[in-house]
């Protein structure tokens, strides 16, 4: 069996086991209604996590996604409510701005040769700051388009609702899977994550790929912002605070190797669902407080990092240059 599939299988097994245990305790959790809400409530996280998967696959990290989501919601609210643009036009503008933002960060990471986390940290400050300069207060969005979108859904058997934003997330995951495993760009991302020097020597266009990766991540964060705006019908500069951490956690729990090079977009989906399961369980239980979510996610994160360590330390020696994995962070 393919060794690199093991973290993915472990994640899937743990998710199924956890779901089974939760269902044994609360039989109500098996309904399509809960599953539909799973998708809707975590849609923005899932979309951002797809972009984060590509960044982590390439050996980098993007700390700006939460801020980009917050900025996008404010920008859309300003465009729709103050300038009277149609939401669809506002979405297009927001996505273009997010894409340009990501491209600038990618260019800075490649050409200035700075660790990605410090560039995206600056990006995070910039996006949050720009959002609060646009409007420090929350702006409610009232538009026919928003009500129409929130009213349209596919009714699943059993009364569950598959909402538009849930569908958007599923579409993004499909897009991500195809992009990662079936395109030249996807191979270049994996190659970069394995070793940037080797990738460059093999003829992978390092500059273009790096810029594209961060453009993709920011565009998807922008899309997550669009979804978040539809979900909450508001724009607020402090919304989606800390989503970057949830997204990183989802990617790691999904079995993607933090040093880059190994991982699956599909695993990230399970990582997002596992986080959703923890939250839903806490809601069902009723006696546990919300802070347990953070502790459990932290514990899961630790467990999966440990698991990766064990699996890849036990991997056959021919597989890897240990020096590559021990790199403290990749630029």
């Amino acid at each position: 069996m393919n060794r690199s599939l093991r973290p993915l299988l472990a994640t899937t097994a743990i998710f199924l086991l956890a779901y089974l245990l939760a269902v044994l305790q609360f039989p109500g959790m098996v309904s399509t209604r809960v599953l539909g809400n799973f998708l809707t409530d975590n849609a923005f996280l899932g979309i951002a996590a797809v972009g984060m998967t590509f960044v982590i696959l390439s050996g980098g990290i993007d700390l700006s996604v939460g801020a980009v989501i917050g900025f996008t919601t404010v920008l859309i609210a300003v465009l729709v409510m103050w300038l009277g643009l149609h939401p669809l036009a506002a979405f297009a503008v927001a996505l273009i701005v997010a894409a340009g933002f990501g491209a600038a960060m990618g260019a800075a990471i490649h050409y200035l040769r700075v660790p990605s986390f410090i560039v995206t940290l600056a990006g995070m400050f910039l996006a949050r700051g720009a959002a609060s300069v646009l409007s420090p207060d929350s702006i409610g969005i009232k538009h026919d388009f928003y009500t129409a979108v929130s009213r349209s859904y596919i009714l699943l058997p059993g009364g569950g609702r598959l909402t538009v934003i849930g569908l958007v997330m599923l579409a993004v995951f499909l897009f991500g899977i195809v992009l990662a495993h079936r395109t030249r760009f996807g191979s270049a991302v994996y190659a970069l994550g394995g070793s940037e020097t080797s990738a460059a020597l093999m003829g992978v266009p390092v500059a273009r790929t790096t810029i594209l990766i961060y453009t993709l991540s920011s565009t998807l964060a922008g899309l997550a912002g669009v979804v978040f705006s539809l979900y909450t019908s508001a724009g607020y500069s402090l919304s989606a605070l800390g989503v970057e951490l949830d997204a990183i956690a989802a990617v790691v729990i999904g079995g993607t190797l933090l040093t880059g090079g190994y991982g699956f977009v599909a695993g990230t989906f399970i990582g997002v669902m596992l986080q959703g399961l923890v939250q839903t369980y806490i809601v069902f239980d009723g006696t546990l407080s919300s802070w347990w979510t953070k502790i459990v996610i932290g514990a899961l994160l630790f467990m999966f990092i440990l698991l990766q360590r064990l699996i890849f330390t036990a991997a056959p020696r021919r597989k890897a240059a240990p020096g590559q994995r021990k790199t403290l962070w990749t630029a």
């Binding site: 700075v114 410090i118 940290l121 910039l126 700051g129 609060s132 460059a200 933090l258 990092i305």
Partner: protein, 352 residues
């Protein structure tokens, strides 16, 4: 990091001479930047440099900058050591919350304040030890290893305070946050003391050299006989201690422990202070006093933005501008532009 080592040498600055005149020390860009920021503040608010003596302590905007900047300065002292080993500690903000929560809950349940402070500092040490063990024993990248505590830490702090903001009236804790001694606020004295002590320990012994050696090349340091693992654990534990001390100050300042907001995003401020101070993110070159100066520059900018009437959120935009400026100045590309001849520029530009 992917550049050949041969090129790394000339671009890094030469090792500092051990005894340098005070004037040359003060002519460093960080001091110039601090001076410019303070001057702008003075132009915006003419009474900025006024310092008065009232009730046995100094008062004034400058003292306020020192006082407000102290928690970040203390964090930056610990962070400098971590970054010098080519690591980073993202969990310091969460550790601050945990330490503040521990101390607050202990004094409100009737424990003596000394014990509460000791236990809070001990908890900080434990958190740092945990990070250090993840980085060394499990060989996890520092950014991810400390992420675990960053995610879970605030949850733990809320677990300790049971989701409420625990307020207290204990004189010792309030003294740590808002008291004064020798005419200066306690946080300033604590930061100053920690800075002097750490600098002396690091620079008067081989410890600083060993930390730099681990930062430049961990394997090489290990082959040279340095027990890199022990040193790394020590450095992260020290960062945890600094975070706990900072958490006590913040809790004492507001006379309560707020698990959600205590130290929120301060880890980023601390990293920024260290970077402004000239410590290399690639490890191997650090200066603790300059990091403290970096923290003061950040605080002076914060104060300046507040007194000039801009919204505090504007701060974030300015901070990101500063980071971008520093990154451009620190990057090998500008180094080759400024320091080296056309040949160097060509070889740099020739890379894909």
């Amino acid at each position: 990091m992917t550049r050949p080592t041969a090129e790394l040498r000339p671009s890094s600055s030469p090792p500092a001479a051990p005894a340098r005149p005070v004037l040359a020390f003060l002519a460093r860009p960080q001091f110039l930047a601090l001076g410019v920021v303070l001057l702008v503040n003075w132009l915006l608010f003419p009474g900025f440099f006024d310092i008065t003596w009232k009730d046995g302590r100094l008062f004034g905007s400058l003292i306020d900058v020192l006082n407000r900047g102290a928690p970040v300065a203390i964090l930056a002292i610990g962070m400098t050591a971590v970054i010098a080993t080519k690591g980073v500690d993202l969990s310091v903000g969460a550790v601050m919350a945990i330490a503040g929560a521990t101390a607050a809950v202990m004094v409100t349940s009737g424990q003596p304040a000394i014990l509460a402070v000791a236990v809070a500092l001990g908890v900080g040490l434990l958190c740092g030890l945990w990070n250090g063990l993840l980085v060394t024993a499990l060989e996890i990248q520092p950014i991810i290893a400390t992420l675990v505590l960053m995610v879970a830490g605030r949850g733990l702090a809320q677990l300790i305070t049971e989701g409420t903001i625990v307020t207290f009236t204990d004189p010792l804790l309030i003294f740590i946050g808002t008291g004064s001694a020798l005419g200066l606020p306690t946080p300033v004295l604590l930061a100053l003391g920690l800075m002097v002590l750490t600098t002396l320990i690091v620079r008067r012994s081989a410890l600083g050299l060993l930390i730099e050696a681990v930062g430049v090349n961990r394997s090489a340091a290990r082959f040279a006989g340095i027990s890199a693992g022990v040193l790394l654990v020590l450095v992260y534990t020290f960062a945890g201690f600094c975070a706990a001390l900072s958490g006590l100050i913040v809790a004492g300042d507001i006379r309560g422990a707020d698990a959600n907001n205590a130290g929120l995003w301060l880890e980023l401020d601390a990293i920024l202070a260290v970077v402004i101070g000239g410590t290399s993110l690639m490890g191997g070159r650090f200066s603790i006093p300059m990091s403290v100066v970096g923290a003061m520059i950040i605080q002076a900018m914060n104060t300046g933005i507040l007194i000039s009437g801009f919204s505090p959120e504007f701060n974030l935009v300015v901070k990101s501008g500063v980071i971008i400026l520093i990154l451009v100045l620190q990057s090998p590309m500008s180094a080759s532009l400024f320091q080296r001849r056309i040949r160097a520029v060509k070889s740099e530009g020739g890379q894909p």
